[in-house]
């Protein structure tokens, strides 16, 4: 590969994996809500935007990024709880397009509220000083903040996985997703479980918005492309599969990164080409269960 030194290839691969973790972070909330509730949350991008702006607001109040890191998921998660309880809940059992349309409209309302509260132009938001600057990785310089992001996302994912797979509450969540009727017969209040899952999904979406804010511009429309990216990752990974979201996110990151190196103009398209390819070979996605959408 003339003109492409090995350091550059390695750097590009690493950049792709780091970008992949951003994609995982963007998609995991969407994937979880879909997998466990079969709700296609079109307001995912809007919750992401609300997360970034809540971060801007909290940062203005406290001047401390770490406070935001705790506060944002709490605030956005609470909004999620309210949305589930009063808007989404009446629509359970009515077919998949009801909550889809609801959240689609909700996204407009949330973004409009952000515009009213913070204005239509972008607002600045930077990484905390301790996470600024670039780190020498031996094969090139890489932003310290992105390294932090890879670590943070990994911890977050392990935490989510442990919660869902290894705790009693997680067991109930999984059982509720598999067969809500039996769970109800066993005397468990499924609606409380769903409430929690939706809140958790939106909290993660808000957190993703906060964490993306130092890299991408904070504008009211910032969630629109994110919704697309999150859907690509979710579809490639298989609707509703946490492991699928992780693998697909990393895969999409690497594909985008490598395309950027050899044919940068097609970087955006490569994501959709990958999705098309996966859908042709495995319509249910890499880790998806067949028929979940139709069921």
């Amino acid at each position: 590969m003339a003109g492409y030194p090995i350091e550059l290839i390695v750097m590009q691969l690493f950049t792709g994996l780091a970008l992949g973790t951003v994609f995982v972070l963007l998609a995991v909330g969407l994937s979880m809500v879909f997998g466990l509730l079969t709700v296609v949350n079109f307001a995912h991008g809007a919750f992401y935007t609300v997360g970034a702006y809540t971060g801007v607001f909290l940062f203005g109040l406290t001047g401390n990024f770490w406070v935001c890191l705790v506060g944002v998921p709490l605030v956005v998660g609470t909004i999620g709880l309210v949305v589930e309880r009063f808007l989404v809940r009446p629509l359970y059992g009515r077919g998949i397009d009801y909550p889809l349309l609801l959240t689609f409209g909700l996204a407009y309302v949330l973004v409009e509220l952000v515009r009213i509260a913070f204005g239509t132009s972008g607002v600045p938001f930077s990484a905390p000083p301790s996470l600024q600057g670039a780190l020498n990785l031996g094969f090139g310089y890489f932003p310290l903040y992105r390294v932090f992001l890879v670590g943070f996302t990994t911890v977050l994912l392990i935490g989510l996985w442990l919660f869902i797979e290894r705790t009693r509450y997680g067991l109930v969540i999984r059982a509720g997703a598999r067969d809500p009727e039996i769970v109800r017969v066993l005397g468990i209040d499924v609606s409380r479980v769903w409430l929690l899952v939706f809140g958790l999904g939106t909290a993660v979406a808000g957190l993703a918005g906060l964490l993306a804010a130092p890299m991408r511009g904070v504008i009211p429309e910032m969630g629109i492309p994110v919704l697309v990216e999150a859907f690509v990752v979710t579809v490639v990974g298989g609707m509703g599969s946490l492991a699928g979201a992780v693998v697909a996110g990393l895969l999409v990151g690497v594909v985008v990164s490598m395309t950027s190196l050899f044919a940068p103009a097609f970087a955006d398209m490569s994501m959709f080409a990958l999705m098309a390819l996966v859908l042709v070979i495995r319509p249910q996605g890499l880790f998806g269960r067949a028929g979940l959408m139709g069921g």
């Binding site: 030194p5 350091e7 550059l8 750097m11 590009q12 950049t15 792709g16 780091a18 970008l19 951003v22 407009y108 239509t120 132009s121 972008g122 607002v123 600045p124 938001f125 930077s126 990484a127 600024q132 600057g133 670039a134 090139g140 310089y141 890489f142 932003p143 903040y145 992105r146 130092p214 890299m215 991408r216 511009g217 904070v218 504008i219 429309e221 492309p225 994110v226 990216e229 985008v256 990164s257 950027s260 190196l261 940068p264 103009a265 097609f266 970087a267 955006d268 398209m269």
Partner: protein, 429 residues
């Protein structure tokens, strides 16, 4: 999606709303509008076209250039209000019809056609993309409607796209990239240049402008990375540029792309080893990015509000804008909206009519100074000959207030020598 039209509706309303209409006025206007619709589109459309001077204003309110587009609409409204307050054209008032072109040539063409055929506009001004404006230009000028473009393009000056009804208030890439490049290349910071280019007309025209400017300094291109328009993450484009080790990186992109690419180049520590240059360094994006991210980035600009210290019309324009926006000064691209509509209305007044041909003659004869010092339209291609600013983003410590973001390093006075010659553009001498 089916909400397309709703969205346009709300966008239009929101923009009008921001232009000083209060809720009550808005409801009244809507009621009048509905009455007109009920009276039949023919009567309504015809009657209004006779009385009011209507200016169609297609701009990308949604999308990556939304922030600049909204500014343009807000400033254009100031020009309209000024004209009306001064009595209009023999009592005929002007009205601005803002439409969202979504940064798509097809959408822009459709909206422009609607503006002309349905709303009966007298003039069209607007668009915020090198490629979209060509679509608007052809739709408007084919129907004999004057179009004054307020975004950068080289092509619109060329004989193939130019018509007698085409005017270009904005600067063009040859001027801006030429000026920014000349400034950066002459500083002796090294000869190696890399380009990060948004993959559409603007990006490519800017790169060409830089390269032309680099010829006399013997600049050498070490990397050209083309990125898709409205890319979200630039991290994957940057390693190749870093590996090429340039002394200067020219960012040939716009709007949110400019913000995101500078933000991410900053996080990769690239500013320490290379000078970042933007052909049009944007005031709005700098406000959204913060001083640290932009510190030291240089570029060209059509305007920076601190010009008011030396230019009287800048002061007047700034004050009018401040009055409506809680003391915040106008932005560079906003000022284009003001000047684009202002020049049209001035010419209509001079001509004493809104008919296209006499107004074209008045535009050609116009010597105007609306916000930045003297300007005029060159005869052969109707390009606004105007001054070009070289600006550098200030560090936080040097800012007098939150809006004092750029230091004006140079003002290159209006001169046709900055433009490509009429012959080079294919016009008869």
């Amino acid at each position: 999606m089916s909400t397309k039209d709703d969205q346009n509706g709300t966008d239009g309303n929101r923009t009008e709303d921001r232009h000083g209409l209060n809720r009550r006025d808005f409801i009244k206007t809507s009621a009048l509008g509905m009455a007109a619709v009920a009276a039949g589109p023919w009567i309504g459309g015809f009657a209004r076209a006779q009385d009011t001077i209507r200016i169609g204003f297609p701009v990308p309110l949604t999308g990556p250039y939304g922030s600049e587009a909204k500014e343009q609409a807000a400033c254009a409204q100031i020009a309209i209000d000024e004209f009306n307050a001064a009595g209009g054209l023999d009592g005929r008032m002007a009205e601005l019809l803002v439409r969202d072109d979504k940064l798509k040539p097809g959408e822009a063409a459709k909206r422009t056609l609607e503006l002309i055929e349905k709303d009966g506009v007298d003039f069209v001004c607007g668009s915020l993309s090198a490629s979209v404006q060509l679509a608007v230009n052809s739709v408007a000028t084919e129907r004999g409607i004057i179009y004054n473009s307020i975004s950068q393009s080289d092509t619109i000056n060329e004989a193939s796209d130019f018509t007698k009804y085409t005017f270009h208030e904005a600067m063009n890439p040859h001027m801006t990239a030429g000026t920014a490049g000349d400034y950066a290349f002459s500083r002796n910071q090294g000869k190696k240049v890399a380009y990060l280019v948004a993959d559409y007309a603007y990006g490519h025209e800017m790169m060409r402008g830089f390269k032309v400017a680099g010829e006399q300094y013997g600049m050498e291109t070490v990397a050209e990375v083309i990125h898709p328009l409205a890319a979200q993450d630039f991290s994957t484009f940057l390693p190749r540029i870093m590996a090429a080790g340039p002394d200067i990186l020219c960012l040939c992109n716009f709007g949110l792309d400019q913000l995101n690419s500078i933000k991410q180049a900053h996080s990769f520590g690239m500013k320490e080893s290379m000078q970042l240059v933007a052909p049009a360094l944007l005031y709005n994006q700098r406000l959204a990015g913060g001083p640290d991210v932009f510190e030291g980035v240089v570029g060209a600009a059509n305007y920076h509000w601190t010009l008011e210290d030396s230019v009287a019309t800048a002061k007047t324009f700034n004050d009018k804008y401040r009055e409506r926006h809680d003391g915040a000064p106008p932005s560079d691209y906003g000022a284009y909206g003001y000047a684009g509509v202002g020049a049209l209305l001035q010419a209509a007044k001079d001509a004493g009519t809104t008919r296209s041909d006499p107004v074209v003659e008045a535009m050609e004869a116009l010597k105007y100074n609306l916000y930045k010092g003297p300007e005029y339209f060159r005869q052969c291609d109707h390009q606004a000959v105007q001054s070009v600013l070289v600006v550098e983003s200030k560090p936080a410590s040097a800012m007098r207030n939150e809006y004092d973001v750029f230091e004006v390093k140079e003002v290159r006075e209006a001169s046709e020598s900055m433009l490509r010659s009429c012959e080079a553009l294919g016009h008869k001498a």
